[in-house]
Every structure is written in C-alpha cells, then in structure tokens.
C-alpha cells in the first residue's frame, strides 16, 4: 500500500493505481477526454492535469491518467494553477473542435465561455481513443495514426478500407469529437456508409457474427430483419 496526500487528505491506495483512479475513488472530480476504462492510458488530451509536489520540492503539473501513485506525494487536483492550465487546454480544444458536445459540456463546467485562438472546425482532436479501442477492445488494428505535425491524422493504411475492419463502429462510439456523424450524402467518406450502399457490408463478414457492434441504430441490421 502506498500512502499519499490528495487535496490534504491522507489516503492509502494500492501500488500501481494511477493518480486519476485514486482521486476519482475518493470523489475528487477530474475531467478527462482521452481516458476510458478498459483502454490503456494515453495522456493525449492533458485535461486531467494535477499538481504534484513533495515536501521541500517545487510543484509541477502531470497528467494524472498516466502517473502512478508514489509514496509521500502531495497531489492537488483543483489548485489555482491546475484550473488555469485546464482552462487554457479547454480553450485550445474549443478552438479546434467547437461542435463537440462533450467538449462544450466540459467548457461549461469550467466556466469557459470564450476561446481566444484562431477558430477551426476539425472533427478530430487526435486523442487516440478510437485507435486504442480498435486495437485493445476489438483486437483489429484497422486504424492508426499516420503523418506528422500538421498532417497527423487517423486513418486506415493507404486510405483504403482495411481488411481488419469489421465495421463495428466502436471508433465512432468512443469518439469525443465526431459524435457519430452520419455521412449519408458522402458515403465514400464514411467509415461504414452501409445505409447508403443498401447492401449492408457487415453482413458478409460472417466470421465476426457474434462480435459486439456499436452501430445503433444500424440500417444494416434493419435490412437483415426485414429479410
């Protein structure tokens, strides 16, 4: 067991837990975007920053979702510095994906009503949730990061439909930014496009018959039922 102080409260937690898990189990709220139980922590969105220090040392900001608990650590989950950093991060997220309801809700919770950066309308914040979902939960590895810097994006290799993809829709289900957008009018851009093609594509993939599907409501399933 490891003893540490979270918001002046001395607690004992098991070794190996992260600061985020420890703080949440005590009821201290920490906002997250790229964290999801069942997926490995990634530390991409930086929303979960907390301030850590020890006796006699200065404090610093770390992402609580990736930081394991340590003995004698003094953690502050809502200090002035943490809140200020978080607000800036929220502003940056709003600047890239203002249409996301999840980001809007987090902004509202933290009293961010305006952002001061150049407004863009991206539908991806590169949090990597979909990549981890595809790899760790669906064991498919159909999508991944590609490119670098400005050109970094998520997609399938060679931008062609991947054989590994079983069209489960898990990537869209976990996405905090794209919100299950329907791309009916541009089926070539959709991951599924099943409704537009009428012939449901997932039906052919029999080997994944009893795998779970995140597409709900799904036109493909309705078509099968009618048959």
């Amino acid at each position: 067991m490891i003893t540490l102080k979270i918001n002046d409260l001395e607690v004992q937690v098991e070794q190996g837990t992260t600061l985020l898990e420890a703080a949440r189990s005590l009821g201290f709220p920490i906002p997250t975007l790229c964290h999801m139980e069942g997926l490995s922590p990634y530390g991409a969105c930086r929303l979960c920053v907390v301030e850590i220090s020890r006796e006699n040392t200065g404090s610093r900001l770390v992402t609580s979702c990736t930081y394991p608990v340590e003995n004698d650590l003094i953690v502050k989950t809502a200090s002035e510095r943490v809140l200020k950093a978080r607000r800036i991060i929220i502003e940056l997220l709003l600047a890239s994906s203002p249409q996301s309801k999840i980001i809007q809700d987090i902004a509202a919770e933290h009293g961010v009503r305006q952002q001061r950066f150049r407004q863009e309308y991206e539908d991806c914040i590169l949090c990597g949730l979909c990549v981890r979902m595809c790899k760790e939960q669906m064991v498919a590895e159909a999508i991944g990061f590609q490119g670098r810097g400005d050109n970094r994006k998520i997609g399938t290799p060679f931008d062609t439909p991947a054989d590994e993809c079983r069209l489960c829709g898990g990537c869209m289900y976990v996405c905090p930014a794209c919100q299950l957008r329907c791309t009916y009018t541009q089926p070539e851009k959709a991951i599924c496009g099943g409704c537009a093609n009428l012939q449901p594509p997932c039906v052919d993939k029999e080997k994944f018959d009893d795998m779970m599907c995140y597409m709900e409501p799904c036109v493909a399933c309705e078509i099968i039922k009618e048959k």
Partner: protein
Amino acid sequence: MKRENIVNIVKKHHGKLGNVISILEDIQFQYRYLPEDALKIVAEETDKSIVDIYGVATFYKSFSLKPRGKHLISVCLGTACHVKGGPAVAKEFEKHLKIRTGETTKDNKFSLETVNCLGACALGPVVVADGHYFSKVKTSDVKMIIDRASKGIDKVYVKTDQRIFPIEVSCPRCNHGLMDQNYLIDGHPSIRLTTSFNRQHGWIRLSSLYGSFSVESEFKIPSDTLVHVFCPHCHQELTGTLECPECNSANMVPMIVRGGGIVQICPRRGCEGHMLDVTY
C-alpha cells in the same frame, strides 16, 4: 518486386519491430520508394499490424510512398534560405518541371521536394540535385541545374560494346563521391574506401574500371578474407542485402554510379563477384 527480397531485408534486421526504420530504409534504398506490397510483407514478417508500419512510414519525411523520379531535387526552405529567396527558387523549379513540390514528373525523371535545413545556411539558398549541392542559387540558375541533372551530373559514358569501362561511384549512405583523383589505378582515378579486417583499419583503393579487379590497400589482405568496407566520409559500413552470387557467403557492397545505377562488389578478397545495375 520480389517477395524474397523484402523477406531477406527483414531477416537481416532479425525481424524485430524495433528495427522497422532500418528495414524501411533498406527497402527505400533498393526501390527508391516504399511499395505498398513491401509494407504489407514487412508487417507479416515482423508480426505487427500494417497500421503500425504505415504510421512509421508516413511519419518520416525521408520515406516516400510514391515512386520517386530518377533525379531528386531538394530545395532548402530553412530560415536562412527562406529569407534569401528559397521560396522563389522552389516556385521556379515548379514552373520549369511543371509539378508541385512533393510531386514527380510524368516521365518519372524528376522529383521535387523541399527540406527544412541542410546546415549550409551561409550558402543559401541551397539546392541539392542528386546529391550535389548548389549554393546561392538564383531563379536564373534553375534551368541550368535541371539541365545538368537530366544529363547526369558527372555523366559516365557507358560503352556497351566494351567490357571494361570506367565508372564513377559515390557512397549510398551519404552520397559523397568516393573517387580519388590523385591516386590512379589502371590509369583512371581510383575508388577510395576504408576497410577493416582482423582489427586492422586502413584504406583500400579499387580500380574504377568495371571488369578490372586491380586493388591496392594499406595492409596486405590475405586471400579469402571477408573485409568490412566503410565510407571514408560518413564512416558508415557499406553493406547490402544481396548475397554474392559467386561465393554465396557474403553480402555485396553497394555503391551508387554517377549517371544512374548501382554497382555491387563482393567484399571477399579474391572473389570476383560483381554486378552493375543501371535500371535504378
């Protein structure tokens, strides 16, 4: 593209994912780009997903997924070159080659790319064509650079009816010329390399006549010794993936031939395995 070829490259690097960059570098060196099928084979052989391999291949700018032209022109757009007029030079190249940056001409002759710094800021704007640096380039020089590159910088006249002809080679790693103009073998400038065997390091000079096996070296190399060959400029070991077809026990040493092509020689003393491939 042969499957065994790619498999051999992967095997050379023990098929570990940690060596993906080295594997891709070797493939790019052989094919001048990364073919889609090659990446798929690498993924199969390393037991990793194609997503991961593709991620690495797209991350680094030195890898190209599209076939590159025979001649590669890189225009520096680092801070100093940018200030000194690099963008205008790049535009002029685009105009003359009728392609945009990052593209290849339809006849597969030229590829144009921009780089962010070549480390020769005082000489800006810098343009590199086929490994040759052009300094203080003006827009009026662009046509000359294209002409020289298309003719082949330091062109070699390959006489097909004669078995013995001189070639000029450069290092496949750093593209630095390997010719020693001051040391003649067979009446032609020699190819200078660094060798190491039995803990002895020294120079070795090869005849530049293709078909001649005249060699001079600092230390006497006993027959049948396998030597390691290094570039005297970048000090990288020159070793390829192709096995010597004569002795079947050594990997051939590749060198780039000016004017296009690759010459490969066997590093085993006494073995006369060598080949010239001008289709590159």
